[in-house]
Symmetry: C2
Subunit: 316 residues, 2 copies
Amino acid sequence: MEIPTLEQVRAAAARIAPHAHRTPVLTCRALDKITGARLHFKCENLQKVGAFKFRGACNAVLSLSDERAARGVLTHSSGNHAQALALAARIRGVTATIVMPTTAPAVKVSAVEGYGGRILRCAPTQADRERVARQALEETGAELVHPYDDPRIIAGQGTAALELLEQAGELDLVLAPVGGGGLMSGTLVTLSALSPATRVVGVEPAGADDARRSLREGRVLPSDDPRTVCDGLLTSLSERTFAIIRRHIEAIVTSSDEATLRAMRLIWERMKIIVEPSAAVTLGALLEDRIPGVRGKRLGLILSGGNVSLDRFFSF
Amino acid sequence: MEIPTLEQVRAAAARIAPHAHRTPVLTCRALDKITGARLHFKCENLQKVGAFKFRGACNAVLSLSDERAARGVLTHSSGNHAQALALAARIRGVTATIVMPTTAPAVKVSAVEGYGGRILRCAPTQADRERVARQALEETGAELVHPYDDPRIIAGQGTAALELLEQAGELDLVLAPVGGGGLMSGTLVTLSALSPATRVVGVEPAGADDARRSLREGRVLPSDDPRTVCDGLLTSLSERTFAIIRRHIEAIVTSSDEATLRAMRLIWERMKIIVEPSAAVTLGALLEDRIPGVRGKRLGLILSGGNVSLDRFFSF
């Protein structure tokens, strides 16, 4: 089981630099006042495709040999990773095949198509998804790029923390959401090597706290029947992300959906940026006072994405 | 009639640097594709109080002698300038008095109060506003700080273009909205001196195009009966802002409200940042193809502010 190193994160940073945004780190006096800490928001919602996922996908696609790349890449995700992989493949000039259930919302299908991805529909069952993916892999010889259980993906996601440190300077504590653990693993690889004194805490929705329970039990527990508005944080850890998280993380805490939505509104209103619910769990946990010892401290929060439907706001 | 110089803009930049955000310049491949140009967005929606107005207000308040400052500052604006002046005064440790009509929305009143401003209510007529302001000025000896007809304000607003040039490099064309002309005047003072080859075009709402008509007639025309969703662009030019604009600007064009709202939605959706309608007129004019010769060119767009009610989106 390959675990990426800081050197691989640095290599990823160099690889994706011509294509990814170096997203800004924003501060907000109003939110500092509310939380009592000095917050530095790494704005991955302003990343290409609106999420940190582009970092990992871009690194994975650009890591392939020309020969491998020519056969294309494939994933079965209907979230931000699918869009990220489609864009990364287009940049490389190869085909991205995305296996999506027939139940996936039209807006997600068209987002992937907008980045030039090729969609394969499957029935909304794990079995059919795997069947369709396997068949496509056999036919095309494409490279399967898992949304998080992949050292190239983890190394790519780790570049966000690398930039955060460069931009914000020393940090006492870094917070990031935990879904499948790709962002958190990459963050830990970077920070444990570069800034071992920085505490790292993960945040999950209270209704999808499988990583927290996994940490407590010492083994990967599945995310069964998750209930949360955070649609980006429904997945379980993999053995690989669990191994990294278990080794380096200080703790995983939770945010209730109510606190997450309050945090999301505060970020929109006070910072004037759009984040999705999954990205607001870190501030949500601070609002609920779930993390001890933050008063007066320098915190980094990775805002993971901004892909949320605006139909409720715009009536046209 | 004092017109600020580039040196005054530079002095303003140094003066406000410890307090104002150096806002990021963002790019967006999707919007480049739609417009055919290479767009650089100067994100003053991410400025303190959510608008470029903080630059001018901060410069004005910090320019005062200790003796003048001690008597406080006053304005009659219910928009972003009022919040900006209140915050600038709080930073200086002095009182900002804001004269506001009894009809001003509660959210604007509480925003000013949130920054520590002192509100004086007046009847919603020009006569009563002036009466209340005059009386307060007499009683307190406060300094009147006009939202735009003030060289300190204009110099402060010009710092946005100064940063934009530093951040984006050479630009072929810069676009900014025109309301009272403070932002546009400051932009022109900076660019005409620092980058005379850069074209500068102003944008107004089609339903509030008094500056465009003023330019054509060669004299300041009032903004009477403006009809637009852009509540930040309802005011008329002053003789001072008109003089600067007339001397240096290439043209003023318009954006229909329909194009402005389309542009606003595109900015929210593709860039994941919140802008108010007034800030979206520049992209609106590009969508309506109002500005010739932009294809392939390097454009700067000053996104003026992001203060818009989110009640329609958040139901709590």
